[in-house]
Amino acid sequence: MNASLPLQAKDYKSSIKPVWCPGCGHYAVFNALTKALAHLGLAREEVALISGIGCSSRLPAYLNTYGFHGIHGRALPLASGLKAARPELTVVAAGGDGDGFSIGGNHFLHACRRNMDLTYIVMDNEVYGMTKGQASPTTAPEWTQSKLTPHGTGIPRFRPAAIALAAGAGFIARGFSGKPADLAKLLVEAIKYKGFAFVHVLSPCRTFRPEQKGWKEQVHSGDPELHDPLQVTNCIQSDDGLTLGVLYRHPMSVWQPILQHPGSLEQIE
């Protein structure tokens, strides 16, 4: 491959065959991401895709960029460490709703606050796919299909956008794997945004939540992009969770370590 030719979406794909079930929403997220990277014309070696554990978190190996398939719930700290050490790289973290909002909830909070220049994609299927169908924080309280919670969880859903906003994220968007072209555009915006960009993607689990094929009819676009946190708060607060598009974008000061021109060690000793 001649590195000087612009790369196409397929050039960002590795030769490894995804383990995903046929019809899984994660395929479309994968495709949209490769399109976004191609659109941005990023060199593959300058991109790193960091994930946790879950079906969704299998993503990095399928990309032909640098990647780290870490441990459950810790994609964001791993990505943050990489970005702090190598600010010039494009660092994208990705994972599922269980990975990001259950075990990884604390890092989500603090990554939103810290506002490093990262993109975080959560492929939300409202279930733990990898471990065969338990309720996640975004699962509706009355969903009774998991044997672990046969009466439903009885716990109101976790609202990712509302939390991201309250925690201080400056870019919040929602995409849907059933609308891959729009999703690719959102991802382009997110990666371009200077700061922590959170992209919440509705990505159905064909196997454990077959009813999610209904999402196709339910998703809708929201108000024109809002910039005022107060307005957005109202909007997100009353949101049904199926509104697509950029929900919030606000320029914010980006945290990065103060990297000085290195002095000599001797002066310290």
Partner: protein, 578 residues
């Protein structure tokens, strides 16, 4: 009272105690600095009450003409600024009839526990002397008293006092100097307890804590990224590192917890930047899963574990060597990695520098086990220069037939791709993988990768640094980490009692240099493993590795008080008798 009768190390031990706000610690710190200025070696430990701040405290110093790294079994001099709550420290301040107690005539009767020692008591109007000077404080008078008895020179003491208190403003520092002089003169008619030789022509000594030395060693090893969560007794290492990392072009990130910090290190190290953190037991426990990921994905990183009393929250402000088991065995699956332990405050610099280089070269995790004693005590030591190791991480495309991140090589070491390198793009993974890094549960890949990760550690030539060894003899005291100093000194004392003693102090605990250690132990008649924990963790670990003979003995006891040399001597003598 005689000078230095107790040991062949010509040393003097001094304690200064007082209740909240009395300034005992400040007094000790300035005394320590004055000791350094006199070209003497020294060590200062502190003990605090349970209060968060401002409770009673004790500064415990030892000064000597030769390098020393542990406290003595007794105190020669105890100065009480007052005697409130002294019982809290009584165990830590053993006195003998030879000792001298200085008490303030205005502060009432000595506690019974002190009188019981039958030490000589010298009552002086300390506070009264201080009150005669505007802004004067008792602790500075005590400093003068202590300094005279320690054989220090007044002029140089005044210089040090003024320098140390410069940031308090001129008024305070002058008042303090006046107090110091007054205290010095108040005892001038007495015999000194210690007489330093005239300072030789040697480079100035360092006044450094183990935590600072670890930080320095880390920087020398090449650490340029630190992520951490505060925890006693490791936080001050992080606080030392933060501005200095910046000066050398690195950075420190305060994480939301230890789960985050260890994963941040993995991210930075994956990015090619050597990374380290410091923590203590509870934090190390929380890092277990992340450390396993680093081992499995072969991403180098270093954790300095400043051990405190355990288990659980335990005794956060006291020392113990009870995290060895966790450090060696605390990951799920077969996860071989490095465990090291510095042998003195000064050695913290060397061991950490080495640990960083080894972790980088071997693409693995290195856990450095220091403890509260090494970490928070200050030593006056010979300068600790950089060892300037050649060890580096192997990176980039090394062979013609394409990039395989986890290629099986003869020495177990495959080359790391670093983001930015177009020819060695890969995905690191904690799932078992094949040579390319692709997840695999084939019967062949798992054993091959397990063997690779173990082999790279076991076939590596660690050179001579894995231990320190001293002496020959029928008795062999085997030890590790911070207990080493007391053991070395115990051995010196045993030798003066005609008991030939060999000391083996392990700096590299994992992988254990089994064969070499077995060879060293073969001739020994009586082996005793000395360590500061309840369950004899190192003793059992050495048995696990089959390096100890059946009849080796264990000298293990828990904290909160570190081993003292005389205690070890006694135990050895007792075990001889049996």
């Amino acid at each position: 009272m005689t000078v230095d009768s107790s040991t062949e190390t010509l040393s003097l031990s001094v304690a200064i105690t007082g209740s909240g706000g009395s300034g005992a610690i400040t007094c000790g710190l300035i005394l320590l600095e004055a000791v350094a200025a006199a070209g003497l070696y020294g060590l200062m430990s502190r003990s605090l009450g349970p209060q968060i701040r401002g409770g009673e405290s004790a500064a415990m110093l030892r000064i000597a003409r030769e390098p020393i790294d542990c406290l003595d079994d007794r105190f020669d001099l105890l100065i009480g600024l007052d005697w409130l709550n002294l019982e809290r420290f009584a165990d830590e301040l053993p006195l003998v009839p030879d000792s001298l107690i200085v008490t303030d005539t205005g502060k009432g009767r000595l506690p019974d526990c002190l009188l019981a020692s039958r030490a000589e008591v010298l009552a002086l109007p300390v506070k009264q002397l201080a009150d005669e000077i505007t802004g004067g404080r008792s602790n500075m008078v005590a400093l003068g008293i202590a300094a005279f008895l320690c054989g220090l020179d007044l002029n140089s003491l005044l210089v040090v006092t003024r320098r140390q208190l410069a940031d308090k403003g001129e008024k305070t520092s002058e008042a303090s100097a006046l107090c110091v002089a007054r205290g010095f003169r108040a005892v001038q008619n007495r015999a000194r307890l210690f007489r330093p030789y005239p300072a030789e022509d040697k480079p100035p000594l360092w006044n450094i804590s183990g935590n600072e030395a670890c930080g320095l060693g880390g920087l020398r090893g090449g650490i340029r990224f630190v992520a951490a969560y505060p925890i006693t007794p490791a936080s001050d290492m992080l606080e030392w590192l933060s501005p200095r990392l910046e000066e050398v072009g690195g950075s420190l990130l305060q994480a939301e917890d230890e789960l985050a910090s260890v994963n941040m290190l993995i991210g930075a190290s994956f990015g090619g930047v050597p990374a380290m953190t410091a923590t203590s037991g509870p934090g190390l426990s929380l890092m277990a899963e992340g450390l396993g990921l680093a081992v499995a994905s072969e991403t180098p990183l270093v954790v300095i574990n400043v051990t405190r009393g355990g288990p659980s929250t335990g005794i956060p402000t006291k020392s113990e060597q009870s995290d060895l088991n966790l450090a060696v065995f605390g990951m799920h699956g077969d996860a071989p990695h490095l465990v090291l332990a510095p042998l003195s405050i000064r050695d913290c610099a060397f061991t950490t520098e080495w640990a960083v280089r080894l972790a980088e070269a071997l693409q693995t995790v290195a856990i450095v086990l220091t403890d509260q004693f090494l970490g928070q005590n200050r030593g006056i030591t010979d300068p600790a220069h950089s060892a300037k190791f050649e060890l580096r991480r192997k990176t980039g495309l090394q062979n013609e037939d394409g990039y395989r991140r986890y290629a099986i090589a003869e020495d177990g070491l495959s080359s790391m791709g670093i983001p930015g390198m177009p020819e060695c793009i890969y995905t690191a993974d904690g799932l078992e993988h094949d040579e390319q890094g692709v997840p695999s549960n084939l019967t062949s890949d798992h054993p091959a990768q397990l063997a690779k990760r173990l082999h790279k550690l076991t076939c590596f030539d660690y050179g001579p640094h894995w231990l320190e060894i001293q002496g020959e003899g029928d008795v062999c005291l085997l030890t590790w980490g911070s207990t080493a100093a007391a053991v070395f000194e115990a051995a010196r004392r045993l030798r003066t009692q005609r008991i030939d003693t060999r000391v083996i102090a392990l700096r590299l605990l994992a992988p254990l240099q089994r064969e070499a250690l077995r060879d060293l132990l073969r001739p020994a008649m009586r082996i005793l493993v000395v360590e500061l924990n309840h369950q004899a963790q190192c003793f059992h670990y050495l048995h696990a590795q089959q390096v100890l003979p059946e009849d080796a003995g264990s000298l293990a006891r828990p904290g909160p008080i570190p081993w003292r040399p005389g205690e070890i001597v006694n135990q050895v003598l007792e075990s001889q008798d049996r």
